[in-house]
Amino acid sequence: MTETLKPRDGAEVEQAIKWAVAGGKTLEIVGRGSKRRIGRAAQWDMTLDLSGLSAVTLYEPAELVLSAKAGTPLAEIETLLAANGQELAFEPMDYGPLLGGAAGAATIGGVLSSNLSGPRRIKAGAARDHFLGVSAVSGRGETFKSGGRVVKNVTGYDLCKLLAGSWGTLAAMTDVTVKTLPRAETEQTILVLGLDDAAVGELMTAVMGSFADASAAAHVPAAPALRIAETAAAGDAVTAFRLEGVVPSVSHRKAVLEGVAARYGSIGTLDEASSRAFWRAVRDVAPFAASGSAGARDLWRISTAPSHGAEIGRALIQQAAAETLYDWAGGLVWAALPPSDDAGAGLVRSTVANKGGHATLIRAPAALRAAVDVFEPEAPALAALSRRVRESFDPRGVLNPGRIWVGV
């Protein structure tokens, strides 16, 4: 078993990385490990466990700002925000159950390192859009900071953006600052039942171009819809739109949305509590959870232009018997493929390349994640830039080498 180093503060993180640099060791960077199975399966000499860096260090609700040590549990932050009527608007998903782990084990550093977001991505942005400031230790063993604690800041390069989604390959974050936002006073979800692909696409475009101002828009085909408690009774595919805001606004926009949707199919409504539960299930892709009936399938996450999601899904259904689920008004496709020699990589990559976007192999056996590209391969000039940027932070390849791409 790999030896683990568990620093207690930023200074010890710096010491640990300096030591690894000097000794030519590689480090796996983890928080509480909820996303450990995402990425290329690679070997590291030691594990650098940042879960010991855990505390909310600043929270000023009226300033919409929160700072925490990187290993602080997300659940702790979400509880604190909820007590003040606030939330992380990007609605970070919980990968735990999808990967066969426990729910609620994410850390704020992990959320930012993987640039997580949920259904509200289409309205509020991703983790990157709420990441205001960072202190981190580079693969050179040097502590640096970027950004600040204010929401509007263009002083120097925005390294927060670069660290968001870098999967710990550039630096080990020690302290982070995020923007918080008020939680909506209420929410409701409108369901349109039993639509086919073509109708879904048309309806999504109509709703997203209307005054309904939906904060989430998803399409759940019949099979996965049966595995979500709130939609199981429908017995059919559901196309769902979430309306959030103050009461008079939600009821007004509900009428707007129903006006747009009426001619497409029969309409149902989820009240506040059911709506919250439903979107949590969509956020966490619960119908494809490791413990469920699709649990043995290899799982892809595809980001594409909203109008292309259905076509990509259809190709994967027809050619590989995929099960699919669509979030982000069609722009996020979750595709669960029956086990195969390449996890469906050849088909998925060529299908996505035709339409534009990128695909990530989220769940597959370790042997496959070592053999096929987990993240979208890059064109040569872009790949060369990625390598140079990686080297500008971590010239010796100490931090999570090989997690995103071979040799990076």
Binding site: E3, L5, K6, P7, Q15, A22, A62, E63, L64, V65, N115, R121, I122, G125, R128, D129, S138, E142, F144, S146, G148, V150, K152, V154, T155, G156, Y157, D158, L159, K161, L162, G165, S166, P182, G209, S210, F211, D213, V246, P248, S251, H252, S303, A305, P306, S307, L332, G356, G357, H358, T360, E376, A379, L382, L385, V389, S392, F393, P395, W405
Partner: protein
């Protein structure tokens, strides 16, 4: 002019004729400007205190030309300064005497409008406002709206990560771009993002945005377009103390309300604006708030009532809600004309741009008054109150000996104060030349070195817009060196498992 630019390279200047000829082969016709008279309009940007004639101006029209110009300059070690409309307030497009000024003004086509995916693909020379105008017929708009939106270009907006008065609710440029085509200094052309969300690998689009033209030249941008709000109303709220206005802003946000716009003006700014546009601003108040709500009418009316209740509970002495579109626009007219209004009461003014944690506003305003007395210069303040972005306008007369220098020192003191209270040097105007030498007030040497190492990954010879953002330029080889001390694990106490 107190900030020193890199010394011109005599060997490059000696080859000027040869370089101009080579550039003319890449961009034929009138795309290369080399006469002093014709280059004069390019000698400065919106920060007019700084001027420098470029060695030559090049106005390419195609990505291949941009790529060829950069590849040539990379090979020949010639510096390049990119420029959009030249509206930068921080000197980001200030030319270099031994450098090529690469003007992107001819890239002004809108390439695609995609309502289905709520995106527009535009060339970087398209103005900010033109994007909104191009999608207006379908009820859409592009959200970031810097004050210079009639003139400033999308390429410049991306380079500076521009904001505007609506960014608390709708975000700044970085939150509203989906993709771009980027040319690196070595001439390589990259495509980042597209009409989908989030990067496949490292978020280069995120780091290009706000990089002030130091990392690459943008030749195409894909932006998000949003449905225009159904309605909007504003409230005009006056307070006899800036503390009360600050408290009102905090309580509005504390009540869970994120207004479409929330602006504050201090007494000198109110007076100047009112005398200029007669918007009906109260003249007996220390602070004036404009709070705008947008969305469905039912929501706007509901929230505007709550905002007015909060305002009264914070001691507002005037509180008026707009009852027509004309009235709403009148409320804004004064704020939008604040800069020219101040321009009427002073021969010159210097516009600053710091961000502070909002709660620090009363302290910052008080300290600014002390500085005003010390430097014997007046100051008027407009403030994006929702996000803490402060624009002090320092009034001076460039024809009076020493006033410009005093204004610059006053401005630098204000920005140091912003950092001291937990804020930053620039909220939306950029570091450029103007704030370059203040960077150490906010960043350590390690912080700045890591930023420059990133620059090296994009531009190994430091040829793209040098002299901006970083106070000290290091060679990439020097920055890349590592001092490694081999030995025992230096922390026997660190828990190991």
């Amino acid at each position: 002019m107190t900030v020193a630019m890199p010394k011109p390279d005599a060997t490059v200047l000696a080859r000027r004729a040869e370089i101009v000829a080579a550039l003319k082969r890449i961009v034929p016709g009138e795309g290369v400007i080399a006469s002093e008279e014709a280059m004069r309009p390019y000698e400065s940007d919106g920060l007019t205190a700084y001027r420098e004639l470029p060695m030559v101006v090049v106005l390419p029209e195609k990505t291949e030309q941009v790529s060829a110009v950069l590849a040539y300059c990379h090979r020949e070690r010639v510096k390049v300064v990119p420029r959009g409309a030249g509206t930068s307030l921080s000197g980001g497009a200030l030319p270099l005497g031994d450098g090529v000024l690469l003007g992107m003004a001819k890239f002004k086509r809108i390439r695609a409008i995609d309502f289905e995916n709520r995106a527009a693909v535009v060339e970087p020379g398209v103005t900010n406002l033109a994007v909104s105008q191009a999608v207006d017929h379908a009820g859409f708009y592009y959200a970031p709206d810097p004050s210079s939106q009639i003139a400033c270009t999308i390429g410049g907006n991306v380079a500076e990560n521009s904001g505007g008065v609506h960014c608390l609710k709708y975000g700044v440029t970085t939150n509203n771009v989906l993709g771009c085509e980027l040319v690196l200094m070595n001439g390589e052309v990259l495509r980042l993002g597209g009409r989908h969300f989030d990067a496949a690998g490292y978020d280069f689009l995120g780091v290009i945005t706000g990089s002030e033209g130091l990392l690459g030249v943008i030749t195409e941008v894909t932006v998000r377009i949003l449905k225009k709000p159904e309605s909007a109303r504003a409230a005009l709220i006056g307070f006899t103390a800036s503390e009360d206005a600050g408290e009102c802003v905090a309580r509005i946000i504390g009540a869970g309300i994120i207004p479409g716009g929330m602006e504050m003006m201090d007494r000198p700014a109110i007076k100047a604006a009112e005398e200029f546009v007669h918007a009906g601003y109260p003249l007996d108040v220390e602070a004036l708030l404009i709070v705008e709500l947008d969305g469905p009418r039912a929501e706007v009316d509901h929230l505007l009532d709550r905002v007015q209740d909060i305002a009264r509970s914070c001691g507002a002495v005037t509180c008026r809600a707009s009852n027509s579109e004309d009235e709403r626009l009148l409320f804004w007219a004064g704020r939008k004309a604040a800069f020219p209004a101040v321009g009427r009461i002073s021969p010159d003014y210097y516009c600053m741009d710091g961000t502070i944690p909002r709660a620090q506003l009363p302290l910052v305003l008080r300290r600014m008054q002390e500085m005003s007395a010390k430097y014997e210069l007046r100051v008027a303040n407009v403030f994006h109150a929702g996000d803490g972005n402060l624009h002090p306008l320092i009034l001076y007369d460039a024809n009076k000996s020493g006033e410009l220098e005093r204004a610059e020192q006053f401005g630098a003191d204000i920005l140091r104060l912003c950092v001291e209270v937990g804020g930053v040097l620039t909220g939306e105007h950029g570091v450029g030349v103007e704030k370059r030498d203040l960077m150490p007030a906010m960043f350590s040497e390690d912080d700045l070195n890591q930023q420059q190492r990133l620059k090296c990954a994009f531009d190994e010879n430091g040829l793209l817009n040098p002299g901006k953002v970083f106070p000290t330029l290091h060679r990439c080889a020097e920055l890349g060196r590592m001092h490694v001390h081999a030995g025992q694990m230096p922390f026997p106490d660190l828990p190991r498992f």
